[in-house]
Amino acid sequence: MDRTRRIKDILWLLTFFGIVAMVFRFYYGLGATTNLTDNLPWGVWKILNMVAGAALATSGFTVGFMVYVLKLEKYRPLLKPVVLVAFLGYGSSLFALLFDIGLPYRFWHPFVMWNEHSFLFEVFWCVSFYFLVTFLELTPTVLERFGLKKVQHFLHKLSPGIVIFGITLSSMHHTSLGSLFLVTPQRLHPLWYSPRIPLLFILSAIGGGLLMFIAIKMFYDYLQCSRKPGYTCSSVNGNPIKKSDSDQKEDFLRLRGLATIAAWVLGIYLCIKIIDLFWTGAFSSLFSWTWESFLYLSELLFATMLPIFLLIHPRTRKTQSGLAVAAVSGAFGLALNRLNVGIFGYFRDAGAIYFPSLAEWAISLGVISMAGLAFFFLAENFSIFDERWKTRHSQPLQLSIGFDKLSMVWKSVLLSGVDRVSLMAIFIIPIAWWTMYPPFQPDSSLPIHPPKALDAERHVLLIDGNQDGVATTFAHFEHQERLGGKESCVKCHHLTVPGDHATPCSRCHIYMSEETNIFDHTYHLKAVAKAEELTGIHPENNSCNSCHAPDVARSGTTAKNCLQCHDEDMHPVDAPEERLALMTATGYMHAMHKNCINCHREKAEEVQNNELGDCITCHRKQPGSIKFPTLLAKNHLHLN
């Protein structure tokens, strides 16, 4: 009971974080809330929630197949829990996708607009219909409580048909979820790219999905039952339900049966995966010991080797803990495999790393938490794992008040879910808002890669004045026009000073009376006071004379020159590296272009020779280089 509440508290916390992130996602867009990029366009919502989520919810179709097709009646009691897991798994996956796709209000487009060549089209259809199937399979259980016998019977009659339909859909979309990645032979890492991804995906989904279900079932039992001998399970309001030892044992044997099947499937999967490694020739890259090979090996270890070992070894296969570890490890390994194929495998080709932003985690985990809460709600109120809801209403809701001896205060425990959850919401939502509000996020300074091409006709320059990698746009043409057209070049560009690239912006934008001022006087007061270790209640008030000359009216003209303090920051470097030269406005090059090009074009028209105005006239490929004008151009200038 208490364990369940603690888990639910965590789920509610994540849910509230998720809800806040969902608001931000729709209001600010994908760019502000996610770390997705053009090179790595698929992130945690698609891969973790959809691809891994669908795989982990596979038990719905495998157990259905065992009971309805193979007639293994032993597993019939597991049908309802399995359907619940499938329903919530697929429901939450589809829900998370609504946040991932750019235009969620068009989610119905694939139903109307068809492209049957697309793997994603197949996935979309199969997954949405399979979700419908799990919904129909779950309805009779829910209707049972409301006593709608007729509808229930009708659905019961239909259910074998529905289940078969669901099995077909499942096997189709599990293979096509793998096929999604077939289109990227150039981009996906060779360890994971294989023409047999669809087969690998469905096998691992069957095995890992069963283990995931075992993990869920065991965790649910752990939450409900105390571990004392006799396994007393408490119901929602403390009304004990006793399970006999033989029941417990049967339960365990049933789960172990599933686990054995999973181990067999995973064994086959492991064999195919290793053979496939030779087949695709990726075996050498496994032992190149890059981080990919470690991920690959840990995936194999967790998804296959560890569970198989635990389920084969005579000691561990008979214990609850052995089964639990095998189940958790298998589920984790399966999720890791999907993340490897969908996310990590693309890093090397993209030359970049993707780590989900806080909002991405919040929505991803928030959606899973919502599914978790729905799981508890459905499990507690309907006959899914047990029939505890029948005894629930005999117990009135109560508020227990007790005296805490340690803190010497009366404490009241909020038992009513609504109170507790509202209280949590009041505290959590502002925190979530504050941590994830996109305008509060620190400005990630974009790395500036100086472009290598020339762009002789640039309208706008990107200037990184203090060379810290953060640049501002500078409207070059506008400045030129305002300052008096082509004659004004000399105001900023110093063609005769070697290494002097351009006038700093502050040379002009320093008048504090004007809007264009970039000199922060208030900041300087404090910075100067701190640097000169001035004293006083407000040391900054004593800092005037540090810059302004005493006994004269204080103004910009009577103050120190910027360079007197900022010699290192602002003074043009003597021999600029090529990188820095390209990052700041390379005034010299552009001024040179202006010097030559205009005249060349005029002459070209005069003598009717178009080549004269072309870039290639001066920037010859051979023998010189085009980055720097050839000697020809220099001599030509001198001749003029």
């Binding site: 867009g29 760019g31 060549h117 990227t184 032979p185």
Partner: protein
């Protein structure tokens, strides 16, 4: 079927084609300039073509290759991308749901997403489809001061490219990029350096749809 032939040996990297593209598409030049610096290959939703340095002092245009069997067209689940009879691969924003599978599927990583918009779409070069329909050349081809790009029927350009390569063996590598790669593209390159920076595969690589078409 129309195509563009790009001669890497003639390009000086003046980027006038890119500026013309930005102007003709109506992109914001300030945002485009920003992306020119901050994105490695200079391609973004505000800048659908760019000039990349494929080798020291050798420049090539990077934009949609308009494959003959495009991976993006087969990937799009709503059929929002189509290979037109005239050659260009065009994007229909009224169908797009924003799944970004085309971006994952493209072997050249060309489609770019409007990440900053609340209602985002994909942006990619469409070989100025509207201009082609009116019988004009694409904006980039028209703007080039150095006749680096030729625009015309793909068959004719291929013949011209082979002739060029044959007649000047000291100037070009004996290969026309885009003739066979991925079963052919509508943007062809002749060059004197390797074009691995444009993500071209080996010449005998079949198109991605034909590699995966066993449905």
């Amino acid at each position: 079927m129309k195509a563009i032939l790009f001669d890497v040996t003639r390009c000086t990297g003046c980027e006038r084609c890119v500026n013309a593209c930005i102007e003709s598409k109506g992109f914001d030049p300030i945002r485009a300039e920003h992306d020119r610096y901050t994105i490695k290959d200079g391609l973004s939703a505000n800048r659908v073509s760019s000039i990349v340095e494929v080798s020291s002092d050798h420049f090539a245009r990077k934009a949609c290759m308009h494959c003959l069997e495009p991976s993006c067209v087969s990937a799009c689940l709503v059929g929002g991308l189509t290979k037109t009879a005239k050659g260009p691969v065009v994007y229909d924003s009224s169908k797009c749901i924003g799944c970004r599978y085309c971006m994952l599927a493209c072997p050249f990583t060309i489609p770019r997403y409007e990440w900053d918009e609340p209602i985002p779409f994909v942006q990619k070069c469409d070989m100025c489809y509207d201009r082609i329909k009116d019988g004009l050349k694409p904006a980039c081809v028209e703007a080039c001061p150095n006749d680096v790009m030729l625009f015309g029927e793909r068959e004719e350009l291929l013949a011209h490219a082979h002739q060029l390569v044959k007649e000047n063996p000291h100037q070009y590598i004996d290969h026309v990029w885009g003739e066979l790669e991925f079963d052919g593209t509508s943007v062809l390159y002749v060059t004197d350096v390797e074009l691995s920076k444009l993500d071209f595969p080996f010449a005998d690589t079949p198109s991605i749809p034909s590699q995966t078409n066993f449905l």
